[in-house]
Assembly symmetry: C2
Homo-oligomer: 220 residues x 2
């Protein structure tokens, strides 16, 4: 079972590392970190992740995961990336994204007519790709599974683990990474965080994403 993680400059490290921590432990899993060219890839938190494979070396995968990016590193207009994502998607059992990775799937034409999600501050960008924006943390539409912002990749990976290896294996992996969340605040979504926090983060993310209309649903 070949699982391809797409890496690109400016991506968010946790979008990949969260799911990888679960998926790499599935029976028979072979992880391939793939970028346009092999080599280190700088993420938006500064750490570099190594892409051991270039596009040409990985023409197919059982599972494809496309992470998001905290800034406007615009893979959505990069023809080679979109062509590779489309080609690999044609071979997958599951095509997945975390955070604004779904906008790359959208730009590749994969979300047309499908329910999908993305980071809350970018959710209204999905319509441009013919997708139906959905508020769920993880959205399944046929073989395409999209997750909400950054940390939602962990929840998505547990769902995938159950589909790929059964519920007991998925539960065991959740136990192994002791994923029994207890955040000190309940501010993880725009309808739960204080208004002042939502306003400030919206403004910052709008600037970062360069999406002038990325106002979260809760404040519209």
């Amino acid at each position: 079972m070949e699982i391809a993680f797409f890496l690109y400059s400016g991506m968010t490290a946790l979008d990949v590392i969260g799911p990888q921590e679960i998926l790499c432990r599935l029976p028979g899993a072979i992880i391939r970190r793939v970028a346009k060219h092999t080599g280190p890839v700088k993420t938006d938190s500064g750490i570099e992740l190594l892409a051991e494979y270039g596009f040409e070396q990985v023409p197919r995968a059982d599972v494809l995961l496309v992470p998001g990016a905290g800034s406007a590193t615009d893979m959505r207009e990069e023809p080679d990336t979109l062509a590779w994502v489309r080609a690999v998607h044609a071979t997958t059992t599951w095509t997945t994204s975390v955070c604004t990775g779904s906008l790359i799937l959208g730009a590749a034409g994969i979300l047309s007519g499908l329910k999908a999600t993305t980071h809350w501050a970018a959710r209204n960008r999905l319509q441009a790709y013919g997708a139906e924006p959905t508020c769920s943390r993880v959205v399944e539409a046929g073989k395409v599974v999209t997750a909400a912002g950054v940390s939602a990749g962990i929840d998505m990976a547990l769902l995938l683990a159950a589909k790929l290896a059964g519920q007991m294996v998925a539960q065991g992996l959740q136990l192994a990474i002791e994923y029994d969340p207890a955040p000190p605040f309940d501010s993880g979504s725009p309808d739960k965080a204080p208004d002042a926090v939502v306003a400030r983060v919206s403004t910052r993310l709008r600037a970062s994403f360069q999406y002038p209309d990325a106002v979260p649903a809760a404040t519209q």
Copy 2:
């Protein structure tokens, strides 16, 4: 504000990447990934993380984070590591660990007489270092903050963010990474997972950790 992440061969990538995704975005944060020697460090999920600094280059830090390891990569018996951890701890505002990273703090003599936590399957190893094992997901004891297994580092980092930059900043970071957890199962701790899952994961982790007596509290 200098934040030092200790990297070592066999460590768990998410123990560092989860907290880093939050802490690197604090105002004035300077992240330093530190290993005994500079260079790539292989984690237990196969991905390499780059240590840009060696021990000698980072003699102090405002925050130190020591991650855990999925296998018995025994930093607890590595004199240079323990000496560096001790020396940096003497300079910190906060000394922290994720998962079995607390056993390294323990071996360095830092947990003596303190409440602390670690991965559930290793919790009874804390007593050997004079610590008082505690079941909470995040345990604060003076300036030493220990987190439970792997994913608990995210919760700990949000707590630290509030202490370092205030609650609104921490809430904003939680919102930015959309940390509004919704795992598909409720199996993240041994008292919640099905007995058969706990038994299987216990056996596997005992072998991996090489802790013959690492039976979780819930099954003792």
